[in-house]
Subunit: 432 residues, 2 copies
């Protein structure tokens, strides 16, 4: 009976995060300053907490999780279950074994709490009073609002207007947790005012919202900026997902042939996959990794280049697979997948030939239809972004049916869709 739901005891919660930096196939190209303008690197200590900056370039393979953070991880529901998708396997009549990690059983709806908690904890410990951040789909903003509420910090969230417009419940949840939420571009920052002057109905982008949050933190000595994806320390914190999952797969004596997750900035994909990348790099085993994306913003297919993380060029230049930091992307329901660049760590792995990628059409009907198959067999409601992971898992399982391969496929159900039903409604014409 136990192979449907594979659990860990609270005592099995990992005590260390895994840092892949010392294990990358080639050393990570460092962040650099542009040739012109003020130094972005020198501004970093003004906007990030010291601990987080230290972790960003850390060379230790394992980094201890503070006991206060572990306690908050338990509070947030960790360790989370791993499910064997037996019902889905049966429906697809596939010889493949499908496993998914239940990150959606989160107090705010997604895996984002895994980095929100340590980031808020470190900022508080340093004596800061306030955090600023951006959010796209809203999952990150809610997660940081949650963490700030638990550790006792104020929070300002800049929310991409295209998404904020249709997610009132998520906005209210952030506000209930005590956060101040502003649509981005906003009138509160110079970059926001400039863009609104050009176009009063500007729909915004993650790069713009980041620029506004960074600007606000730069101007306030008691404020810390916090990013929910992309950076090394974010992926470090998220490895808790993959570390737990590895233990759980060991319990059932299994190991993935294929690891799948959606990728916007890379925190969810990296969180699940990085501990398995370690095995691949160290032992040369044959595990395949697939990052699922939207054709609207297929950043992994972009050039591996030095680029800014934000629209306003306030961040240092990072070596990333990027479509360009001023590239415009049309709104999609899976807004968490609408960012111009992939995390430097994932970009480096991609450049080393270790990451495959699939893009699904901008229309998204294909993706929501597969999410429906998942809902009706496994009973869990994926967030729009997680539906991209489900889609690849289903399609790969179908391939196995054709070829007869008994692949073990692992994917992450990074978030739930309770607050995103409009996506399902519109794309599947439900109740219309």
């Amino acid at each position: 009976m136990t192979e449907t739901k594979i659990t860990l005891d609270p005592d099995d919660l990992p005590k260390k995060w895994y840092n892949i930096l010392p294990d990358l196939p080639t050393p990570m190209p460092p962040p650099i300053d542009p040739e012109d303008g003020p130094s972005r690197l020198q501004n970093l200590p003004n906007i990030f907490s010291h601990e987080v900056l230290k972790q960003e370039g850390a060379t230790d393979r394992f980094i201890a999780i503070p006991s206060e953070v572990r306690e908050l991880y338990l509070q947030s529901g960790r360790p989370r279950a791993l499910y064997r998708a037996r019902r889905l396997e049966k429906k697809l009549n596939t010889p493949a074994k499908l496993y998914y990690k239940a990150e959606f059983y989160s107090p705010t709806g997604s895996h984002k709490v895994n980095t929100a908690i340590p980031q808020a904890y470190y900022a508080k410990k340093q004596g800061m009073e306030r955090m600023t951040t951006e959010t796209g789909a809203g999952q990150w903003g809610t997660a940081l609002a949650y963490a700030c509420s638990l550790v006792g910090m104020n929070l300002t969230v800049y929310w991409v207007r295209a998404v904020a417009n249709w997610k009132q419940s998520r906005r209210n949840f952030m506000q209930l947790l005590g956060a101040k939420v502003f649509d981005s571009p906003s009138m509160r920052t110079t970059i926001g005012r400039t863009l609104l002057k050009e176009n009063p109905h500007h729909v915004g982008s993650l790069g713009i919202a980041i620029a506004e949050a960074v600007q606000e933190a730069t101007n306030d000595p008691k404020a810390v900026y916090s990013l929910g994806s992309v950076l090394n320390h974010v992926l470090l914190h998220q490895t808790i997902i993959g570390l737990e999952t590895k233990k759980q797969m060991e319990i059932v004596d299994s190991y993935p042939d294929l690891v799948i997750s959606c990728l916007g900035g890379g925190s969810n994909f990296g969180g699940l996959s990085i501990p398995f990348f370690r095995d691949r790099i160290k032992n040369g085993n044959a595990t395949q990794f697939i990052a699922t994306q939207s054709a609207v913003a297929p950043n992994l297919t972009g050039t591996y280049q030095y680029d800014y993380g934000d629209y306003a060029e306030q961040t240092p230049l990072l070596k990333m697979c990027s479509l360009g930091h001023r590239c415009k992307f049309e709104p999609i329901k899976a807004d968490g997948l609408r960012y111009h660049a992939a995390a430097p760590i994932i970009s480096a792995l991609r450049h080393a030939g270790l990451v495959d990628t699939i893009q699904y059409p901008a229309d998204e009907t294909y993706v929501f239809e597969r999410a429906k198959i998942f809902v009706q067999s496994e009973g869990f409601l994926p967030a729009p972004e997680s539906a991209y992971s489900v889609t690849a898992a289903i399609d790969e399982a179908k391939k196995c049916k054709k070829t007869g391969e008994k692949k073990t496929i692992l994917f992450n159900l990074s978030g739930h869709g309770f607050m995103d039903m409009q996506g399902y409604r519109e794309k599947l014409n439900i109740g219309m």
Copy 2:
């Protein structure tokens, strides 16, 4: 570290439900027929599955949970964690110990899956093709839609119009799971048509929605009607909550002085409390039980009398604390607490002097304000109904602060509020 989150292994999932009928202080008064009209009792086998009817009057103290149902319980996330609310205790500066059961970590949002799964399973096993039901808050309709999707049954849901009007996302979720959803009163049944003729904008009630669902099942030999609360078999299935919780409290060597839960029909209150009632009745210990209600429908303060379960008088007469089956109640955000009568089992315990009750004002601001305290300390978002449990727990903990009593207080977080943010928004003026 482990006392924040107390977990059970999948192997610890109870193998039997607990049936309190043989242990009640006085024998349960049987359901009876009214003096006039056709026999309602004789119609029961036409509308309920055989197994459920058998369980309704069963005298065995323990009833085995079929292994298929246990497998689906695991699939739905059981066993669920018990949390010690240390952060809330600290915020309230109370000497009381607070524990809450995390039923809200449910694939559909509430504890209702616990009875939806066995009811759908038994109907399927009997060769039925379709189920009909009513729903108030929408949690029950979603849970049964989930269970029907997993076992492969069709489902029709009649949804109280006053609630259906403001919960489009929940409706879409039911539809995504394959259910057909109709606002009640509807034009599909004679009772619905009669009421709509009187008032085309009739807001409906649970009693009316039950009447429509019963009527549809009566007229279809391949259909089974399913009720989400009130009846003995429903409370039997829900004892899984309290049985798990007892094991979990034993792990931390604790036992409740006070058990609190909200009560509409009684499934959530009964589910948590019944295994503890057993100890009180058997051992005469001093545990207190508080059912929290809305002043709009304080059915536990009603007369202990034989009354119908539905508006249209199609059900047998049950001995219940009832306000009258045609009583009208104004809409509230916690619509799950808006039913005219309490479950016969809970009514009998109330009549025996074992159940206390508190009613909160129809306005609900008091309740949502306490839910906000809970959200900002524990980080979990209660459903409006569950906010009534949180409210009593907080108020009792505050009393302990005054008296210095170190009470152990247990309550159930029966559902989450991800799909009910409008309640928070309106009652707390969030983002307005």
